[in-house]
Subunit: 231 residues, 2 copies
């Protein structure tokens, strides 16, 4: 089968987000409508931290699978984005501050005491994707960042409007990501297009992105159920 | 069993180098005495490239196994050292230039056509060490850099003296490593001491460094034999 043109390939990748991105999950809908209790928001912040702290792990696995120094040169900057460098705290530390503003302490994050099994399974599956599948598919899975800025803008506005008890200084994580996500997504999209040279490789990239959407969705399923059980 | 003091632990690590580092291998002895033929030097440069190009892979694996952002922040700079960043070519590209000065083209490096099986096995075993053993042991294995500056200084002088047909511009790889290795070794030693908290962990770190020395030694065994067969 002939490979898709860059335009059609891009359309197919974007279509995954329109269909399966977690912006439409009921838990996010309730968050953005101001309907989450403080306990539900705390559960979300604590569980999402498990995802955050594994992002540099999966990025390091992508690096370890990529034999091209020029790609690694681009991709390695993501580790600094999350772990920090120089004066930049990094995304993990910014998430810790967000969690503090919501009422979850660093100690509670460190020992995973609030971690729901479904969130653990989904995040571990994402790390396993990066470990076991070709590096281009790991990069393709990161393309949920194509869809993230709209969601994060909506979330930032919703948190400010509906949850005024959250210290705004804690929201800097989202302000940073809204700026960085489009840059990261554009870089990743160029890489995926350039290095998926057959129809089969393109289809596997689309599949990896779909799997990533499912992994994000499953985390919210666990939270939606966990919120009912625990809160 | 009680753990060693930092001083005794450091001594035990250094003792591995005194006993097993590849500076005393017959192939290096012949290199430094000016006894290698151009063909032998070419075989060495081509095979050593397989090791060079896997260093960022094993460093990415160490990163992927390390759950501590503050350690990853330090370790990630090694990827830039090898892959380059900004105007810095990086160690891999500098090795490619060294190989060119010795008479091995980029195309010959890219397809591993001169790669000896023993070199492949040893390098792959090093990558596997980083993949399968705790991250601190991967860091400990890098401590051959404690012993590298003396060897590289001797090698640089020997290459300039005995092999005047090698363009000196090609030797910049060694000039860079002589500067960076002590910094890297000091950083890695601090990490290994701080994160090997039991006698057992310390013994495993020493073992990892010994294994790394064996992996370097085995590469030269293959070259010494390969040189006899192929040249």
């Amino acid at each position: 089968m002939e490979s898709w043109s860059p335009e059609e390939f891009t359309e197919r990748l974007r279509a995954v987000g329109a269909k399966a991105y977690h912006d439409r999950h009921p838990f996010h809908r309730r968050m953005h409508a101001g309907e989450l209790s403080p306990a539900e928001l705390r559960l979300w912040a604590a569980n999402r931290y498990y995802y955050q702290k594994h992002i540099p792990i999966k990025d390091a696995l992508i690096l370890s699978r990529c034999p091209l120094p020029e790609i690694r040169r681009q991709w390695v900057t993501r580790l600094a984005d999350h772990d920090g460098s120089g004066d930049d705290l990094g995304g993990i530390e910014r998430w810790i501050r967000l969690a503090a503003a919501i009422g979850v302490s660093r100690a509670e994050l460190d020992d995973d005491r609030h971690l729901l099994p479904g969130v653990r399974f989904a995040v571990d599956a994402y790390v396993e994707l990066a470990r076991s599948r070709p590096w281009v598919e790991g990069v393709a899975a990161s393309l949920t960042e194509l869809f993230a800025p709209a969601l994060m803008s909506e979330r930032l506005a919703a948190l400010e409007r509906h949850y005024p008890w959250i210290d705004r200084a804690g929201l800097v994580y989202f302000r940073e990501r809204i700026v960085r996500a489009p840059r990261d997504a554009s870089q990743a999209l160029s890489i995926v297009i350039a290095h998926s040279r057959t129809h089969d490789a393109q289809a596997r990239a689309v599949d990896a992105l779909r799997l990533k959407c499912d992994l994000l969705w499953a985390q919210l399923d666990a939270l939606e159920h966990g919120a009912v059980v625990e809160v």
